[in-house]
C-alpha cells in the first residue's frame, strides 16, 4: 500500500516538475521544425517568469500575469527571430547571447519592479483544480487530475501543436521550411513569415514554462530561477524526435527523474544528494548518445536562409 502512495507522489511530482520542461521543449520543437535553433529557451523561461510575476504583482490577477508572461515570451522570441532571420547571426551564438541578455535584464527589472522586497514579493497564482470523477481514481487520480490549470493547458497545447504541425496545411508549410527552405519558397510558402511565426510561438511557449514556475510552483520571481530547465528541454527535443508529443513525453521523463531524485533525497539521506541532482542531466546525456540525433532532425535547421544565394 505504501508503494502505491509513493507511486502517486512520484507521478504528481513528475507532472509538476516536468511541466516547465515540457512547455519549453514544445517551443523548441516548433522553432526547429521551422529551421531555427532556439538555444534561448533558458532566457525566455526567465522572461516569462518575470512577466508573470510582474503582471500578477501589479494587478493581483493570475490570468493577467499569464498574459504578461506570454507577451514577454513573444517579444523575446521575435528578438531571437530578428537575430537569426534578418541579421543571420549564427543561431547558437544568438541563443546564448539571448540567455546572457535575459538573465541580466530580468535580474535588473525584477529589482526595479519588486524593489527591496525582491524574492519576498509573493504573487497570486493558480491553485490546483480537480477534474470531476477522474480525480477520484486511485493513484493516478490525485496525481494527474488534481493539477494546476497550466498542466491541462500543456496537454491541450501538445495535442493542438501535433495536429497543427502534422495534419494542417500551415504545419506542412512550416515543416517544409525546416527541411528545404528553397523548395518551400519556390512553392510559394512565405519562408521568413513562417519562421517569425514559429520563433514567436516558440518564445511564448518557453515563457509558459516560466509562468508555470512562478504562478503554479513558487509564487515569487527569483533571479536565475530557470536553473537549466531550458537546456534540459533542448535535450528533450532531440529525445522526442522533433515531435510535439514525443518531446513532451521526454520532458515528463526528465520530470520523473527529478521527482524520483527528490523522493530518494528524503528516503536515502546517506546517499549524497548531488548524485541525484546530476541524474536528470546524466539521463539527458545518455539519451542523446544512445538515441543519436542526426537521423530525424529537420534537414536545414540552423542554416540561415538566403533567398539570393544559390
Amino acid at each position: 500500500m505504501i508503494d502505491l502512495v509513493l507511486l502517486g507522489d512520484v507521478l504528481a511530482g513528475t507532472a509538476r516538475l516536468g511541466t516547465p520542461i515540457a512547455f519549453a521543449a514544445l517551443g523548441g520543437v516548433i522553432a526547429e521544425r521551422g529551421g531555427l535553433y532556439n538555444i534561448g529557451l533558458e532566457g525566455q523561461i526567465l522572461a516569462g517568469a518575470l512577466g508573470a510575476a510582474a503582471g500578477s504583482f501589479a494587478t493581483g490577477s493570475a490570468m493577467i500575469g499569464l498574459g504578461c508572461g506570454i507577451i514577454c515570451g513573444l517579444i523575446s522570441g521575435l528578438l531571437l527571430g530578428y537575430m537569426s532571420i534578418r541579421l543571420r547571426i549564427n543561431q547558437l551564438v544568438g541563443g546564448i547571447a539571448l540567455n546572457l541578455l535575459l538573465a541580466g535584464l530580468t535580474a535588473f527589472l525584477s529589482r526595479q519592479i519588486f524593489g527591496a522586497q525582491a524574492g519576498g514579493a509573493r504573487v497570486n497564482g493558480f491553485s490546483q483544480t480537480d477534474i470531476p470523477f477522474l480525480s477520484d481514481l486511485p493513484v493516478v487520480g490525485p496525481s494527474l487530475f488534481s493539477q494546476d490549470p497550466l498542466f491541462y493547458l500543456l496537454i491541450g497545447l501538445a495535442i493542438a501543436a501535433w495536429f497543427w504541425l502534422m495534419k494542417s496545411h500551415k504545419g506542412l508549410d512550416l515543416r517544409a521550411v525546416g527541411e528545404n527552405p528553397k523548395a518551400a519558397d519556390l512553392a510559394g510558402v512565405p519562408v521568413f513569415r513562417m519562421q517569425y511565426l514559429a520563433i514567436a510561438v516558440s518564445g511564448a511557449l518557453a515563457a509558459l514554462a516560466g509562468v508555470h514556475l512562478v504562478l503554479s510552483q513558487v509564487y515569487v520571481f527569483a533571479e536565475g530561477m530557470s536553473a537549466g530547465k531550458g537546456f534540459i528541454a533542448l535535450a528533450a527535443i532531440i529525445l522526442g524526435r522533433w515531435s510535439p508529443i514525443g518531446a513532451i513525453c521526454a520532458a515528463l521523463f526528465f520530470g520523473f527523474c527529478d521527482a524520483v531524485q527528490f523522493k530518494l533525497q528524503f528516503t536515502s539521506p546517506e546517499i549524497p544528494y548531488q548524485l541525484f541532482l546530476i541524474l536528470p542531466y546524466l539521463a539527458s546525456l545518455i539519451a542523446l548518445v544512445v538515441l543519436g540525433a542526426k537521423a530525424s532532425a529537420p534537414a536545414c535547421v540552423g542554416l540561415p536562409y538566403d533567398r539570393e544565394h544559390r
Binding site: I39, M83, R86, L87, R88, I89, N90, L92, V93, G94, I96, A97, L98, N99, L100, L101, L102, A103, G104, L105, A107, F108, R111, Q112, G228, F231, I232, L234, A235, I238, P272, Q274, L275, L277, I278, Y281, L282, S284, L285, L288, V289, G292, A293, K294, D306, E308, H309
Partner: protein
C-alpha cells in the same frame, strides 16, 4: 570583410551595448555618464580597482581562449564553466594529496593536473561530436551542470575541511600559492600566464602546420578533407586544448586566489569566456584586451553600485548585448550588408517613402 571594417563594426557594437546599458541606468534614475566614469576610472586607473580587474581577467582570458581555439575548428565549446570546475577539482586534489613538493615543481604539476581534468571534461563532447555527430553545444551545456554538482559533492564529502562551517576543502600549502604580482593586493601572476598562453596560441595558429589545419577545418571543412586533414582528430585536438586552458583557469582560481576549493567557486567565468572570445572576433592576440575590458566592467559594476547606486545587474545586460551585437557585426555580408543599423534604416526610409507617396496621391 577586411580587418578595418571588422574593427569599426565591433567598436560600433560596443558603443551600442554601452548605450543601451546607459538607457537602463537612466531608467534606474541615475546619470549614465557619471556611472560609467566611476566604473572605468575605478577599474582601470585606481590601484586596488585595477588589481581587482586583473584578478578577474585571468580566468576570463583563459576561458576566452578555451572558446576561441575550438571555435576556430568550427566547434562550439560552451562547456568552459564545467571544464573550469573539473580542472579546479583535479588541481586541488593533486595539491592536497601531495602537499610537500617544492613550489617550483608542485605548481607546474598542479597546472598539468588541472589541464588534464579540463581536457578530460572536454574530451567527452569532442569524441561525441567527432564520431557520433552529437551536438556539442547541448552536451557541453549539460556537462557544466554535472561538473558543478561533482565539485559540490567533493567539497561537501571527501574533501571537506575538518570543522568547516561551509562546504570547502583544506587550504593548499603555502608553497603552491601563486606569487603576487601587485604588492599588498590579491593580484597573482595568473594574467601573465594567460598572456604567455595567448602568445603561444597565436603563433601556433599562424605559423605551424597543425595550427593551420585547425583553422582550415573551421573555415572550410570540405577543402580540409580534400587536403587530407584528419577532421575528426583536428576537432578533438581543438577541444582538448580548449578544455585544458579552461581547466588551468580553474587551478588559477584555486591556488592563486581562494587557496581552497569551494562550492560554486567559478562564478560564471566559463560563460564570460564566450563574451571574451566574440569580442575578440576569435583572434587570440586580441583576447587579453577584451578580457581586461570585460573584467573591468564586472569589477567596476560593484563599485558603481556602491558609489553611484546603480544596480550592478546593468552590466550583465551590457555583456549579453555585447555578444548579440558583436555577433551581428561579424556576420559576413553575402548579398547585402548585414550591419545592425541598416535594416532599421531601410525600414524607416521605406516607411517615409510610402508616407510621401500617400500624401502626394
Amino acid at each position: 570583410m577586411n580587418r578595418f571594417t571588422m574593427q569599426r563594426r565591433i567598436a560600433i557594437a560596443l558603443l551600442l551595448a554601452l548605450s543601451v546599458g546607459g538607457v537602463l541606468i537612466l531608467l534606474d534614475g541615475y546619470n549614465p555618464f557619471e556611472a560609467y566614469k566611476v566604473l572605468f576610472l575605478e577599474s582601470f586607473l585606481n590601484y586596488w580597482g585595477f588589481s581587482n580587474t586583473l584578478v578577474k581577467a585571468s580566468p576570463m582570458l583563459l576561458a576566452g581562449l578555451a572558446v576561441i581555439i575550438p571555435m576556430r575548428a568550427g566547434v562550439f565549446n560552451i562547456g568552459g564553466e564545467g571544464q573550469i570546475y573539473i580542472g579546479g577539482l583535479f588541481g586541488a586534489v593533486f595539491a592536497l594529496a601531495i602537499p610537500d613538493l617544492p613550489g617550483l615543481l608542485g605548481v607546474p604539476l598542479i597546472f598539468v593536473a588541472a589541464a588534464i581534468g579540463g581536457a578530460f571534461w572536454a574530451a567527452i563532447p569532442a569524441y561525441l561530436k567527432a564520431y557520433r555527430g552529437t551536438n556539442e553545444v547541448i552536451v557541453t551545456l549539460l556537462m557544466n551542470f554535472i561538473a558543478i554538482h561533482i565539485v559540490s559533492y567533493a567539497v561537501a564529502g571527501p574533501l571537506l575541511a575538518e570543522g568547516a562551517p561551509y562546504p570547502y576543502s583544506e587550504e593548499v600549502s603555502e608553497a603552491y600559492r601563486l606569487p603576487i604580482l601587485m604588492p599588498r593586493s590579491d593580484t597573482h601572476v595568473g594574467f601573465v600566464f594567460g598572456l604567455a598562453m595567448t602568445v603561444i596560441l597565436y603563433f601556433w595558429l599562424r605559423f605551424t602546420p597543425s595550427g593551420f589545419q585547425l583553422d582550415l577545418v573551421g573555415r572550410n571543412a570540405r577543402a580540409a578533407a580534400y587536403a587530407g586533414v584528419d577532421q575528426k582528430m583536428t576537432v578533438i585536438r581543438a577541444m582538448l586544448i580548449g578544455g585544458s586552458l579552461a581547466g588551468m583557469a580553474g587551478a588559477i582560481e584555486v591556488i592563486g586566489l581562494k587557496y581552497r576549493l569551494f562550492h560554486l567557486f567559478s562564478d560564471g567565468y566559463g560563460y564570460d569566456g564566450i563574451v571574451v572570445a566574440f569580442l575578440a572576433a576569435l583572434n587570440p592576440i586580441v583576447a587579453p584586451l577584451t578580457a581586461l575590458f570585460l573584467a573591468g566592467l564586472s569589477a567596476g559594476a560593484g563599485t558603481m553600485q556602491r558609489a553611484v547606486g546603480v544596480d550592478s545587474s546593468v552590466i550583465d545586460v551590457v555583456e549579453g548585448l555585447v555578444v548579440v551585437l558583436v555577433a551581428a557585426a561579424l556576420v559576413t555580408p553575402r548579398t547585402r550588408s548585414a550591419s545592425i543599423l541598416k535594416p532599421l534604416a531601410r525600414n524607416l526610409r521605406l516607411r517615409r517613402q510610402t508616407q510621401r507617396e500617400k500624401k502626394e496621391a
